[in-house]
Amino acid sequence: MVTPAWYMLLAAALFVIGLAGVLTRRNALIMFMSIELMLNAVNLTFIAAGTAVGSLAGQVSVFFVLVVAAAEVVVGLGIVVAVYRRRHTADIDTLSEMQG
């Protein structure tokens, strides 16, 4: 029998992988996909917890996370393409003008 704790552990593993991706990679697109991975890990916890406590609200919450993620991707990829048109790179280290 798979208990909710197993799903929590899998979600934690996926979240940590996404965190490592955001912290170590330099390519804006891969950082972006790592953030999506973290959102998916949270979705898994929502579903597992909802099933565990016998409520459908967890699945509805996942629906909202999905909508927010979709909106975020639209704007984020728009920014990446806009930056690429000016700088011809997706490397975030080149975008350092605004640092103090």
């Binding site: 798979v2 929590m8 170590t24 699945q59």
Partner: protein
């Protein structure tokens, strides 16, 4: 028993996809790893009777969002190799420390048994996330948040169009 088999197989698939995402040199491989993770998670959702969410996961995430990602990866260029030198000294080590800390924390919580819930009454039906059940809840109890998401989507679309309208001036930055 079958749930355990599905969980182990799809869990391995999800973690392998995630590792491919952050370790692959080529961004296209990263996107494909992400796709594998998304499909594995969709199967896990089905095994927990979240049918509607699983379908949305495949259609919206694996279908729309990852297609958008692949499109932008192709546009931005896959051949440019990433500069892997450390700009901030010790940043790689610090990141590893953060990750190790998170793993230790998860292990501690696991061992201390925080993750055990009292499962909803033994006799009740399991939560079944059909389209009908999810939709009923979405359009009754959650109708205000649902309407607010439409506002969010409009703002996002307008923002994306606005970003696309900016043209770099001729002759440089």
């Amino acid at each position: 028993m079958s749930e355990l088999v599905i969980f182990v197989l799809m869990g391995i698939g999800a973690v392998a996809g995630g590792l491919t995402l952050i370790l692959a040199k080529n961004p296209v491989y990263s996107a494909l790893g992400m796709l594998g993770t998304l499909f594995s998670l969709a199967v896990l959702y089905v095994s927990q009777l979240a049918h509607f969410v699983a379908a949305v996961q495949v259609v919206v995430y694996a279908g729309a969002i990852m297609t958008l990602f692949l499109f932008v990866i192709m546009l931005v260029g896959v051949d440019k190799s990433e500069d892997t030198s450390e700009t901030i000294r010790g940043q790689r080590t610090a990141a590893l420390g953060v990750v190790a800390g998170a793993v230790l924390l998860a292990g501690y919580l696991w061992l201390s048994g925080v993750f055990t819930w009292t499962i909803a009454g033994a006799g009740t039906d399991p939560v079944n996330g059909t389209v009908e059940a999810t939709g009923t809840l979405l359009f009754s109890e959650w109708v205000l948040p649902f309407e607010v998401t439409s506002l969010l989507l409009i703002i996002a679309s307008v923002g994306a169009v606005g970003l696309a309208l900016f043209r770099p001036r001729k002759g440089g930055e």
